[in-house]
């Protein structure tokens, strides 16, 4: 059952019930999904880790024992000790503090880039699907070409053009990431705009804007939400990958990907430089993926 049908069916049940004596507590699609999500233990564990990471990112200044730039040239590449719980890096900076600030970069990129992706992708997809005709043809062709591009290659190209830096990472991910969401939105809008309830609203005299924003888009939301949940780890991965090869975050701001990239050459002598940020990336990616799987299954149980 499509989400649109689900909501209208529930409304119908609610209306029928309202006609009877006892009002039935209606359970909306969102509440239903939330209930299903809560039952999914893996997803909840993932969600728990995500909340923790966000808290670490927000309170990085309070949590980290040192600043991420403080160097101690007497103690380079040191293994974990009491002073430095996760050891020091090649410049004698505290690994733990740098890891904590690294969480901030990952979270900002993961969540922030999705805002840009949605802001570009959804309007383009919606307009393309809703207006049809020449606009659609042009936009689909454009999207097809963008889709054919090896994604990461294009991001690297854009980054080497713009130069390293957080803002440029947003731009690069935004420029390349909207394509998938635009496609999804277009497909949804195409199928929904032919549905009877849209026809009905149009017959009642609803204008273009009202039709699109009140009737079509809200019903197209499910796959967009799912795409966004999976977009977050993808953006985190992209940032880590870019920083790993040195075109991502500008030093001295720490990023996990950059730490793995720099630590890689000391892998044999100082394993901790590479291993801790690697574990952090792995845990973060896994948590977001489990949460994303959960959200997808909760919103559309049929897919499970």
């Amino acid at each position: 059952m499509s989400p649109a049908a689900a909501t209208s069916a529930e409304t119908a049940v609610g209306l029928l019930a309202a006609g009877g004596r006892e009002p039935i507590v209606s359970s909306s699609l969102g509440r239903d999904a939330l209930r299903r999500l809560r039952k999914n233990r893996l997803a909840m564990a993932g969600g728990g880790v995500v909340v923790m990471l966000i808290l670490i990112a927000v309170f990085a200044d309070v949590l980290s024992p040192y600043t991420y730039t403080k160097t101690n040239f007497g103690r380079l590449n040191e293994a974990p000790s009491r002073d430095y719980p996760l050891g020091t890096d090649q410049l004698g900076r505290d690994m733990l503090s740098r890891m904590i600030y690294g969480a901030r970069v990952s979270m900002i990129v993961g969540l922030g880039a999705q805002v840009i992706v949605v802001l570009i992708g959804v309007p383009i997809g919606a307009l393309s699907g809703y207006l049809g005709g020449r606009v659609d043809l042009f936009l689909t062709r454009f999207v097809d070409v963008m889709y054919a591009f090896p994604r990461l290659l294009f991001v690297i190209l854009v980054m080497s053009a713009l130069g390293a830096g957080l803002l440029n990472i947003f731009i690069a991910i935004g420029l390349t990431g909207w394509v998938g969401i635009a496609r999804q939105t277009r497909a949804q809008v195409l199928s929904i705009k032919e549905k009877e309830f849209v026809e009905g609203a149009r017959a009642l005299g609803a204008g273009f804007r009202r039709l699109l924003f009140r009737h079509v888009l809200p019903n197209a939301l499910t796959p967009i939400v799912v795409a966004v949940t999976f977009g977050i780890p993808e953006a985190i991965f992209t940032e880590a990958a870019l920083s790993f090869i040195g075109v991502g975050i500008n030093p001295p701001t720490p990023s996990w990907g950059q730490m793995v990239g720099e630590g890689q050459q000391y892998l044999r002598s100082s394993w901790h430089l590479c291993v801790f940020p690697s574990i952090a990336i792995a845990i973060t990616m896994l948590s977001f993926t489990f949460l994303g799987d959960g959200v997808r299954d909760a919103l559309d149980p049929k897919l499970k």
Partner: protein, 308 residues
């Protein structure tokens, strides 16, 4: 069908042209030029020398002319000289490096498809039992964890702690093991997750029930009736898998020091090696586009319900 194939093949031309154009524009919109004296590996040059060089490489012409010249030459397989590796043409470098990447990619893809199918089938047949959880967890791990992170773990585990394989190189088959596994795990996860979903759908279908009720044992039901039908949608997955292996190879190749195309990704871009950038992007783009075309055509061939 033939019509469709020809139309799709012709559509490759504008796609590649657009790709070349976008790359060209992004490249030239970039501040800094290959003649920039502060660029990596460049000598500080006098203005006259710069002008001479620009003339020699055709960089003094207007952009649209440069693009037209590039396209004309590229059609004849001539991508010019690399700006960074000055003694070699781009085509020579690619002819050397591409087969290595192709070989690594093919091994990784084969492993990914075989392993992914196996994990996916196991998970679907034993749905919600321990085999399911094991393979789903393994698949999620492969999908979620970036391959440069996996590479770090593998090197520590299988090169340092248990010295089974070397940390890098490409001489002996022993050196192929770790890069191949690292590169394969991501696509394998994608494959396993998709196979599981596809198998579950088919296992619940009426014709599987029919096969069971006519008394067939489990093995032929799964392999002859279910798997055959479940495989059809999985074929479409090969396109994204090629892409995953292709872009993944940069990280894997640079970590394990494999002499393939991967290392030219970033070297060419940060070094403003225009001819090399164009060649790398177009080689990958063309390869992926052709593979996608092949996949789509195979799909139509396998599933008689699809008509073009």
């Amino acid at each position: 069908m033939l019509n469709y194939a020809i139309r799709r093949a012709l559509w490759l031309v504008p796609t590649l042209l657009a790709m070349a154009l976008v790359t060209f524009l992004v490249m030239h919109a970039t501040p800094g030029s290959p003649l920039d004296p502060v660029a990596e590996g460049a000598n500080p040059l006098s203005p006259e020398a710069q002008k001479n060089l620009a003339q020699h490489y055709g960089l003094d012409k207007p952009l649209y002319q440069q693009f037209a010249i590039f396209v004309g030459k590229a059609l004849r397989g001539d991508f010019g000289n690399s700006f960074v590796y000055r003694t070699r043409t781009v085509s020579e470098i690619i002819v050397d490096a591409f087969p290595v990447s192709l070989f690594l990619g093919a091994m990784a893809l084969a492993l990914a498809v075989a392993g992914g199918l196996m994990l996916g089938i196991l998970a679907a047949v034993y749905q919600n039992r321990s085999w399911d959880y094991v393979s789903v967890t393994l698949a999620t791990f492969g999908v979620a964890v970036p391959n440069f992170v996996l590479a770090v773990f593998f090197i520590i585990l299988f090169s340092f702690l248990v010295p089974l394989f070397p940390t890098g190189g490409w001489r002996t088959p022993r050196t192929w093991v770790l890069p191949t596994i690292t590169l394969a795990l991501g696509p394998m996860g994608i494959m396993a997750r998709f196979t599981r979903a596809s198998m579950l759908e088919v296992i619940r279908a009426d014709y599987t029930l029919t096969a069971r009720s006519k008394g067939l044992s489990e093995t032929p039901v799964i392999f002859k009736h279910a798997l055959k039908n479940a495989l059809i949608p999985i074929v479409t997955l090969l396109g994204p898998l090629f892409a995953a292996v292709g872009t993944g190879s940069f990280f894997v190749e640079s970590i394990f020091r494999v002499p393939g195309m991967g290392r030219f990704f970033v070297l060419s871009m940060t070094g403003r090696d225009y001819p090399m950038i164009m060649a790398v992007v177009l080689t990958y783009g063309a390869f992926l586009a052709i593979m996608n075309l092949a996949v789509d055509l195979t799909y139509g061939f396998l599933d008689p319900r699809i008509r073009y």
